[in-house]
């Protein structure tokens, strides 16, 4: 029936693998921050943070197993926030 909700079970093992990935990406952020890549450093840090967010959202928050509508809504809100940042900085940079 339509009211069924996701009953996908993410195994213990898979959750732990996601957590290990998250720890590795945390290490990557810390390592990269030691190099002075000027403006690029903050961009790399934000990209790594966004990859971590994607992992948490997809597996810990079960978005990968939700229906398309919820997935697209969450994606839409994320893109909206990025759009706001781009519009803001297009104002400051030029």
């Amino acid at each position: 029936m339509s009211e069924e909700h996701s009953t996908h079970v993410v195994s213990y093992k898979f959750n732990i693998l996601v957590w290990l990935d998250l720890l590795i990406f945390t290490l990557v952020t810390i390592e990269v921050a030691q190099f002075d890549l000027l403006a690029l450093t903050v961009v790399v840090a934000l990209i790594v943070a966004s990859i971590k967010t994607f992992l948490v959202g997809s597996y810990f928050m079960h978005l990968k197993f939700e229906n398309k509508f919820l997935q697209r809504t969450v994606l839409g809100v994320g893109l909206l926030f990025i759009a706001v940042l781009i519009v803001l900085f297009s104002d400051y940079l030029f």
């Binding site: 720890l23 967010t53 928050m61 926030f81």
Partner: protein
């Protein structure tokens, strides 16, 4: 046909999907709340790059990294507790939630010593030494205290939320067939983790 009619004749209509959607809508408002602060951070940082550089040099990167690992691990234990409930293992689920709450407490203890250290160095808004800081550094520390403080409040709220759910599992109101409240508490907890995922590099790493 008859079996389908049977599924409609429950005494209560439960709408788990609606509850989950409601939680997500609430999380979107949280994104707006913190998003606005991140935008303020971005603009001030753009205008006072060097001061923000010096400000983050004052913060202890190791404490920040430890707290990152603590929160990531607590996110794992919440995710595992959902798996445990789905598999019908109540005791394991409760234990995992209690570990999560212990980790939340450890996070807050770290935060307390961190803030106290800043306070002792006069780096708290309103203190004499604080008023001598440059405008940019003052902005950095105002944002640091406000954003990590607001985040810490979320950690406390999330911990209480999870404690209520753990009691629900113990009583049996949250169970293998009805665990939407655990899922929603988990969603809230993961959002708190995600916010920290951005706070950590932006404040603690000199980037």
């Amino acid at each position: 046909m008859s079996s389908e009619a049977g599924t409609h004749s429950h005494l209560f209509h439960r709408d788990d999907y609606g509850k989950k959607m409601g939680m997500w809508l609430f999380l979107f408002t949280e994104v707006l709340l913190f998003g606005g602060l991140f935008i303020v951070y971005a603009v001030y940082r753009f205008k006072n790059h060097d001061a923000f550089h010096e400000g983050s040099a004052e913060l202890n990167m190791v404490v920040g990294a430890i707290n990152t690992v603590i929160l990531l691990t607590s996110s794992l234990t919440v995710a595992l507790s959902i798996t445990a409930v789905q598999l019908g293992n109540r005791k394991k689920a409760i234990d995992l939630i209690m570990i999560t709450i212990a980790l939340a407490f450890a996070f807050l203890v770290n935060k307390y010593f961190e803030w106290y250290g800043k306070y002792e160095h006069g780096l708290f808004p309103g203190m004499e030494h604080f008023q001598q800081l440059s405008k940019g550094e003052s902005q950095f520390f105002h944002l640091y205290f406000f954003m990590t403080g607001l985040h810490a409040i979320h950690v406390i709220v999330g911990g209480i939320f999870l404690l209520v759910i753990a009691l629900g599992i113990k009583k049996g109101t949250v169970n293998q067939g009805n665990y939407i409240y655990l899922e929603n508490a988990g969603l809230y907890w993961h959002l708190v983790d995600v916010i920290w995922i951005y706070l950590f590099p932006l404040f603690y790493l000199i980037i």
